[in-house]
Symmetry: C2
Subunit: 151 residues, 2 copies
DNA sequence: TAGTTATCCCACTAAATTAGTCTGATTTAA
DNA sequence: TTAAATCAGACTAATTTAGTGGGATAACTA
């Protein structure tokens, strides 16, 4: 009963990297710290952060007093970077995927709609960086629950 | 490896109702006919169409020579109507849902991004009707596979 | 009124995805 | 050398999605 929802993995990953963006860039934050602060299962977060590491968004320091910090500055990391690192590309409908492409093409009339959606979503995610969030903590919080009824 | 994808249910439902919109409004199309034409599992489609019925988007005629037709004209049925009938409201992140609302509010900095996405997606879906599809069979088919790499 | 073709209804199974855990090795500061 | 951390990968559990099966009901036709 809720469509097009991003997986929890992505939510957790974003929370974590946003948390890091609010800390001193030199400071290393441990999994334990991030998990506690952001209220996320520790071992699950560990795996998520590994994916962000492999994509070069986060860097780590091992051993005692180790932890994680951003690999580049907050205005150089977009939502899209994080989402794509964790889940791959955005594909509104399976037929938009190169590999599977729609069995109804070229007859399928929906593809224009899917591509329009995909373009808009991708635009917002690539435009929004972690730095933007620091400037505007709560863009328009009121509209959150009233959106479904909006035209 | 594909984010924010609409479920197959919705794709099937849209295909079916779009198919109906291309037929004579007086004609009744059977499940068998629609399933065959649109290449969708018959029994599965049956259930999907029932949901569209309950929401008043489609009407049926029982018995021999029975079948389905649109309950109102094609320009009065939007993508949003169909999607919402099948899956409920669009909720990009769980925290956007009224019932569950984010445990991090008002601190959560992401809610503005989610609401922006949700607003844009909802706008396209409510604006697009079945009649629009008939006019423009393939809006911009070329961009379908090149989108993921677009900025 | 019998037979055929269809919708209607609900329970059920199977497959796939998502979420989360467990175990243990490796690295490093104190 | 010990404690605190990352790193790696297999594993399990829960949830969601996709799809089936069987049978009642309705309407048209002969």
């Amino acid at each position: 009963m809720s469509l097009m929802q991003i997986p929890r993995r992505v939510d957790y990953g974003l929370r974590a990297i946003i948390y890091l963006s609010t800390q001193d860039p030199e400071k290393c934050c441990s999994i334990t710290e991030i998990a506690k602060q952001q209220n996320v299962p520790k071992k699950f977060l560990e795996k998520i952060i590994q994916d962000l590491m492999r994509r070069g968004l986060i860097r780590s320091k091992r051993g005692s007093c180790g932890g994680y910090s951003l690999a580049r500055s907050a205005n150089e990391i977009s939502f899209y970077d994080v989402i794509e690192a964790l889940e791959g590309s955005i594909t509104v409908n399976a037929c938009m995927d190169e590999e599977f492409s729609c069995d109804q093409l070229p007859r399928c009339t929906m593809v224009g709609v899917w591509s329009e959606i995909q373009r808009k979503v991708t635009e917002v995610f690539t435009r929004t960086t972690l730095a933007d969030l620091r400037r505007t903590p709560c863009r328009d919080i009121v509209s959150a629950s009233s959106l479904s009824s909006a035209a």
